[in-house]
Symmetry: C2
């Protein structure tokens, strides 16, 4: 009931109704966004010049529909409000939201956004899913750089709560606010970064941890499968319930994080130079490949991914029931969000 009201309040703050989405690029990320937008009751136009994109998108939507349903979202006639429009200007002409998932190449994205800003309505939210190209660089080719923002999802966008909202140097506060309101209304958990930094936050953290993972496997301390078991049985479980700072705050006793840093900070800092600096050289790649075959080779990736998604949905539901803060897993708040988000 709390989250219900919160949600309603938040959604009421949305400066513009977001009913019509233009999704640029019909690849994995575009399909995932499109599926979520459709399940949330939005009209969706997919713009992708590649031949055969229609079949690819429809097949992709069939694949993710069960996960959307498990999230408590309506998935019957999911494609009833889906259109395809190869011409970019026509596709965005009446969009409330443009979510771009084009190739990760600066000139391509600059070209796309030059065309979009000329054809999209003045009120439209302009967001790029880029995982690495700064909005500042993309917006150099735009007349209204204040309108462009990074809305970086964590794959798959229809499932993982986080959306990193990353401003370019000239992105306006209003654009950030609009992006935050939109992704929140979708049931996501957006976070606005305070600075543009390569890799943003989640991927930098993932990269820092994976670097040590590669080191430990290359050194023969553990296998890939053993390391994965260690993570899911300790820090993964922990960080799903409480982030790294909260975790060490709780590790500091009654005085919390300051006490933790006072007593263990310098030992930890002293250990940092001892962490691994591996490289994907031939022997390392050969070892990682061989162990991946042993660990995961018996089951198709699609089946492993489906299992992972089912487990993740179960975790999201459990957290929502415990904390009452996740809105992405409760059909009641979902449908309410849906109603609100689609009011013209």
């Amino acid at each position: 009931m709390d989250t219900h009201d919160e949600k309603t309040a938040r959604v009421a703050d949305v400066p513009t109704a977001h009913r019509r989405a233009a999704v640029i690029g019909g690849g994995v990320i575009g399909i995932s966004w499109a599926g979520l937008f459709l399940a949330r009751g939005m009209d969706v136009v997919i713009s992708d010049p590649r031949p055969g994109v229609r079949d690819q998108v429809l097949a992709g939507l069939d694949e993710i529909a069960p996960a959307l349903a498990e999230l408590g979202l309506p998935t019957e006639n999911l494609t009833a409000r889906l259109r395809f429009e190869a011409d970019l200007a026509t596709a965005v002409a009446d969009a409330d939201v443009v979510q771009e998932n084009g190739p990760e190449r600066l000139p391509v994205k600059q070209q796309i956004w030059q065309a979009v800003e000329q054809a999209a309505p003045a009120h439209a939210l302009l967001a790029t899913s880029t995982s690495g190209i700064p909005a500042t660089a993309i917006a150099e080719a735009m007349r209204q750089p204040e309108r462009l923002v990074v809305g970086h999802p964590f794959n798959p966008p229809h499932l993982v709560p986080l959306v990193e909202i990353v401003p370019g140097e000239r992105t306006s506060a209003q654009t950030l606010e609009q992006a935050h309101a939109f992704y929140t209304a979708l049931g996501k958990k957006p976070q606005i970064l305070r600075k543009e930094v390569p890799g943003f936050v989640a991927n930098r953290l993932q990269s820092a941890l994976f670097r040590e993972c590669v080191h430990l496997v290359a050194e023969g301390v553990v296998t890939e499968a053993e390391l994965d078991e260690i993570v899911t049985g300790s820090i993964g479980l922990r960080w799903a319930a409480a982030g790294p700072f909260r975790t060490f705050h709780l590790g500091g006793g009654p005085e919390g994080l300051p006490h933790f840093i006072q007593h263990l900070g310098h030992a930890m800092e002293a250990s940092w130079p001892g962490l691994g600096a591996p490289s994907f050289d031939e022997p390392t790649v050969a070892l990682l490949t061989e162990q991946a075959e042993q660990a995961f080779g018996d089951v198709p990736v699609s089946e492993l991914a489906a299992r992972r998604d089912r487990a993740q949905i179960a975790l999201m539901r459990a957290l929502a029931e415990t904390s009452g803060t996740s809105s992405n897993t409760s059909s009641s708040t979902s449908s309410r969000t849906h109603t609100q988000a689609t009011q013209a």
Copy 2:
């Protein structure tokens, strides 16, 4: 039903019945181990020379009893089979398992283990909870170094599934097997490391990630609270369901991890030198302290920890129901384990 049978099978493999535990050290870790051992039906002797340890332990057991109950373990009369014995030799004289949680100082641990190996039965499992001192160094003072092994829990031991079993240079295969069987019978998820390495595995990974966390907060990209939200909403959730290697295997498409490394490995490697190298200098510590106060200051640490534990138990239960692989959260498998583990 599957896990039930698996569990029964595993427990049947325990080479020695583990009915009597000697827990050395009545601090936070010792109390947590003692609580789990008692809830699993074991007799427990706590040996700690400090005055007032009895009251401290009994208060601590009261605090963790609710979590043990939520794990599906019996907690009525939890202390009925608990004894205190300050004299080390007497405490371990009839132990099947000795779990040492003494101060993290090599000379102290060497002294403790010299005394223990002389007084403990020949069949007893000898395990130290040390988070950083190699068994090789501790065992230098022992006549039977092959008997000592690191059994490093992730705090709190009664709750987090992982136990890192780390052999010293002279630890025997039989000792490793015995440790693995014992912690498995307790419902934990033990992992045997193939090499002794400083910090073992989970804490090295945690340290690698936290290093970047400190960097991003010190750089003003995010606050502590924002970074925690990013982690719980993305990589934390992900790594609770699938470890880092499985995650990137699924990120590689149908060809899995090898394809992922081929296409993204070098970009990731190129990004590693750009990761942060922060230090706990005065301004950084001041900033982290101030933000911890803002983020967590309103609620007592004990209450935050209780919430974290409730959320973690809910996650463990959800994973157990999804995958049927966790035995630490299902009362049916727990009680069965209990029965098996306590057969003399």
